[in-house]
């Protein structure tokens, strides 16, 4: 699938941190932090292309039963009357999990967090093995909407080793 919009949404929202924790063992599985540089809300190229980020996870990730993800994002000088995220995770053509979360109103010039704790969809051992053997074929699309308009589309691919 192509990127479905430009990245103009970075004038409205920017992501600061993302982490994934195994809720049963409290083990941090993944953490990505943006360096602490001042945020820039103006010089965003509205035509900027989306990028696909490649994530590498330890195989133990596939054994986790309950995980907690934490997303930290900043909202720029403009308030958002409605902010919503839809994310879909696939292995090849198979939908593994989909999220639809409405943040709603977001206060201008703020930092906000969303922590989501959920059960990982149960996968059979054979599928897990295939996922390990097929790096880059587990993928996700994240769509961000402001006032029902798609303003950001990010893609990610995953490998387990």
């Amino acid at each position: 699938m192509q990127f479905l919009c430009s990245q103009a949404g970075y004038r409205l929202v920017q992501f600061l941190e993302f982490s994934i924790k195994n809720e049963d063992t409290n083990e941090m599985l993944f953490q990505l932090k943006r360096p602490e540089i001042p945020l820039n809300w103006e010089d965003i190229d509205p035509a900027e292309e989306g990028r696909t980020v490649n994530y590498k996870f330890p195989i133990s990730f596939l054994q986790a039963k309950n995980i907690g993800t934490t997303l930290t994002f900043a909202v720029g000088p403009k308030e958002l009357s409605s902010f919503r995220m839809i994310e879909r995770h696939y292995f090849r053509d198979r939908l593994l999990k989909s999220f639809d979360f409405t943040f709603g109103f977001c206060i201008p010039n703020t930092v906000n967090t969303w922590e989501h704790i959920y059960e990982v969809p149960a996968l059979d051992e054979k599928t897990k093995k295939e996922m390990v053997l097929s790096p880059g074929q587990t993928v996700s699309d994240s769509f961000y909407f402001v006032d029902n308009k798609l303003v950001l589309h990010n893609k990610a691919s995953y490998s387990y080793c």
């Binding site: 979360f101 709603g104 109103f105 010039n109 930092v111 906000n112 704790i117 959920y118 059960e119």
Partner: protein, 185 residues
């Protein structure tokens, strides 16, 4: 995962349950939320916007919204009232008298809100571990809780540092929400 035991009670419900945590700045809202979930509470900074915690369990969803309490942010609170099933009002029981007056005034304003009319109200008289803290009975009188006719309410003296009574309070509010749902059926 203390909250897991709580969400299990919500099974009778179909839609998502939404709990809103409010209170003056520095009351301990964010610390309570982290403490309940067994997270590190040593590095919490004032909340500028919101912190949301979503718990999903066997298809049921509990969303807890913790919105910052600084004066400049309070005007935005109304944006988060919609569809609230439970309101958790957090009080710093060791706060200055004038701040406790603010606290009482802000709570009274909230209780007039139509969009919060159906919500169960839990008051956390927090910071009971401090020697200067007023007891939960004193907080109850100070906030004139006995005069509340419009909401089911409950007060719990608690401490986000020791964890005392946090689950008891959450348990009450979830039970109250769930029982209202049953009575609507």
């Amino acid at each position: 995962m203390g909250l897991l035991t709580i969400i299990k009670k919500l099974k009778a419900r179909e839609r998502e349950t939404r709990i809103l945590m409010l209170g003056l700045d520095n009351a301990g809202k964010t610390t309570i939320l982290k403490r309940i979930n067994g997270e590190d509470i040593s590095t919490i900074s004032p909340t500028l916007g919101f912190n949301i915690k979503t718990l999903e369990h066997k298809g049921y969803k509990l969303n807890i919204w913790d919105v910052g309490g600084q004066k400049s942010i309070r005007t935005y609170w109304r944006n988060y009232f919609e569809q609230t099933d439970g309101l958790v009002w957090v009080v710093d029981s060791a706060d200055r008298p004038d701040r406790l007056e603010d606290c009482k005034r802000e709570l009274k304003e909230l209780l007039k809100e139509e969009r919060l009319a159906g919500a169960s109200l839990l008051i956390f008289a927090n910071k009971q571990d401090l020697s200067t803290a007023l007891s939960f009975e004193q907080i109850k009188d100070l906030l004139e809780l006995d005069s509340i006719q419009t909401h089911h309410w409950h007060i719990e003296g608690c401490s986000a540092v020791t964890g005392k009574n946090l689950l008891a309070g959450m348990d009450w509010i979830v039970d109250d929400i769930a029982s209202r749902m049953f009575s609507l059926d």
